[in-house]
Symmetry: C2
Subunit: 389 residues, 2 copies
């Protein structure tokens, strides 16, 4: 590995903040009890769980008893889709979603289709934005659930969630939003957003892996995905992962307390990176919405060359990025998000996602702006489709 590392893959996962890890440490070998136990160690674990629940609720403006802890964002999304759809099966079986959702929404919907649910997936414009009017038009008499993500994990576009909530509410339809790429990064107030259900996750906000949550507005019907003990008020069985949940709670608190500072800092770095790339490299295209976007996202297509090659050459220089979304990147297929946005396959495959976070520095941006142009130039010289202007 290179000596100096620039980590620009924060959308995929973030390092655990040292303050978060410090909070977690006593819960492994010392306060290790099972919250369901009736003795003091159980009590202690239960208090830690309550505290984390209140921190997670506070981040999104929810009540504590509206938060259900799960093991990851994927579980929260699967729980929301299967759980709500099964609970409402008697009412109707039509679900509306978007075509640029995370695989943990796309793939359950594919399976649900096989099992008889009727699924409508709305397309997006060239900025990756869902038009709320398209949602409205897709609604049928038996639509029971809408699921549209809050922010896209690849290109960073923030969806018009409030507008979609309004439409859902007027039509008495449950609205779930996947907030894994938004919560902890941009301000989220569940009551203002108006959603009924909201997934969010620890590992993208400097908390540990192994903890996430599903917000469910009081009164929302859902069937459990994991059945067993009575944990999470009977809605998610399994011994609670206390150290991870404690860390998630602290990460939520830190994200809330330091939101303004981080937003300003990360947006500044990102703009510096984007402007530098556009200024120094020809034939590049910035993807995603220009204003409705999360602060750390700089998703750029480099014409004539392969994103994978850029990624690997940047990696050799200690600059860590993503091409496509990490959950699908092992598959080496073109991103479904970019395809839906209308990017040509070659442009889509020439894309790199630089996702910045609070631990990045001006130095990271400077190094990238030094290292990237010669890499792109070298790859273009080797490209059979490149024509120098």
């Amino acid at each position: 590995m290179a000596e100096l590392i620039t980590y620009f893959d924060n959308a995929s996962t973030t390092p655990v903040d040292k303050r978060v890890l410090e909070d977690m440490l006593p819960y492994f070998s010392e306060h290790f009890g099972n919250p369901s136990s009736l003795h003091d160690y159980g009590d202690r674990a239960h208090s830690a769980l309550d505290n984390a629940r209140s921190q997670a609720a506070a981040l999104i403006g929810a009540d504590e008893d509206e938060i259900y802890f799960t093991s990851c964002g994927t579980e929260s999304n699967n729980f929301a889709l299967w759980g709500i759809a099964r609970a409402l099966k008697g009412k109707g079986m039509h679900i509306v979603s978007s075509a640029i959702e995370h695989p943990s929404i796309i793939n359950p919907l594919k399976e649900m289709k096989k099992e008889g649910w009727d699924i409508t997936q709305i397309g997006v414009d060239s900025y990756g934005s869902v038009d709320p009017d398209d949602i409205k038009k897709a609604i049928k008499k038996d639509t029971v659930l809408i699921s549209v993500m809050h922010a896209n994990n690849e290109v960073g576009t923030i969806q018009m969630v409030k507008e979609i909530s309004k439409i859902a509410g007027e039509n008495d339809i449950i609205f779930h939003s996947d907030g894994a790429a938004a919560a902890g990064i941009i301000p989220v107030n569940i009551k203002k957003l108006g959603v009924n259900a909201y997934s969010f996750s620890s590992q993208q906000m400097y908390g540990p892996k192994g903890a996430a949550a599903l917000y469910l507005r009081k009164g929302t019907r859902i069937k459990p995905l994991l059945l067993g003990g009575t944990q999470e008020r009977g809605r998610r069985a399994g011994t609670e992962n206390i150290p991870a949940i404690v860390g998630f709670g602290r990460a939520c608190k830190l994200a809330k307390d330091e939101m303004d500072k981080n937003l300003k800092y990360i947006t500044g770095l990102r703009d510096e990176l984007i402007n530098g790339i556009i200024k120094n490299i020809k034939n590049v295209k910035l993807n995603g919405h220009r204003t409705r976007r999360i602060p750390g996202s700089a998703h750029i297509s480099f014409e004539f060359i392969e994103g994978e090659s850029i990624l690997l050459m940047l990696n050799m220089k200690g600059i860590l990025t993503a091409s496509g979304s990490s959950c699908a990147s092992q598959a080496l297929k073109s991103s479904h998000v970019l395809t839906e946005m209308g990017l040509s396959p070659t442009l889509a495959q020439g894309s790199i996602s630089f996702s910045l976070g609070k631990f990045n520095t001006r130095e990271d941006v400077k190094r990238t702006l030094e290292v990237l142009p010669p890499i792109v130039e070298r790859l273009r010289k080797m490209s059979p489709i490149y024509k120098e202007e």
Copy 2:
């Protein structure tokens, strides 16, 4: 809390071994990458995942590509039941299980019954043992799955898994066993046991919460429970909880390497505790099988008094135990396991599970034998149903 703590609730959860925690620590803030990422940090996380998989496989004598990581034992059990049953739906819908399974088996089966599956639950004898002949008799033409736990989490009885495997194999039925209370505690060799699927978990073997596994014999059909990315060869989506999985791997290795020593040590302590209780307190009953039992289990009924009261008074003296199983204990209902074993409701409710582990000492046993008799005596004096002999 009392100054000196005796933790006798190891069946509920165990403290993380310091050596395990040490292995985990670098994966929170330093080697924090997402294994799906293509850069060096992704690689590093992926290697850690591979290493843990090989450690988990080695513990139970499986091949690496037969291990699927999940978030907890409950998830492994739900995954096995739903996944295998759904995959085999076309072949038949009858499932055989036992009446003393963990709630993470019992409750999914209850739900499956509602959804049209035909479920037969076999009773047990007074030692909590399932008779393999009863399994054989329960098999129908359309039986596709048998699920019987390896060791019972409450009373410690080890089931005749090999014999049940033989019956399952002869009838071409998939056999799943919940090994959460067995793996890492007693020697487990999946090939000798002959099962097709086996759940096991980190948090009962001095590993962290948040990691567990499902062993699936090569060629066993299963549908994923969590859909999304291509993690775990497409069978369990969601970013892998690397620190917890690393810890689970190390816990498996330690359990394997130190099995003989721990078995001997814990069995010795347990027998000392049981003999001391029987010698010093009248009207007690040791529950569970006399020989086919896990080493740490001392499950005892105290006539005429309430287990909850004993638990709470022991807790005041710093001795932490369980009454009923912890997953259900918040519900304050009589244990279904004891009821199935034919214990009278009053005897069942007068039960305490002392579950010993490798960190317990002779001193723990000594203190308990000092503290317990006067507690039992005091409670019996207050009991309206107690008659002194």
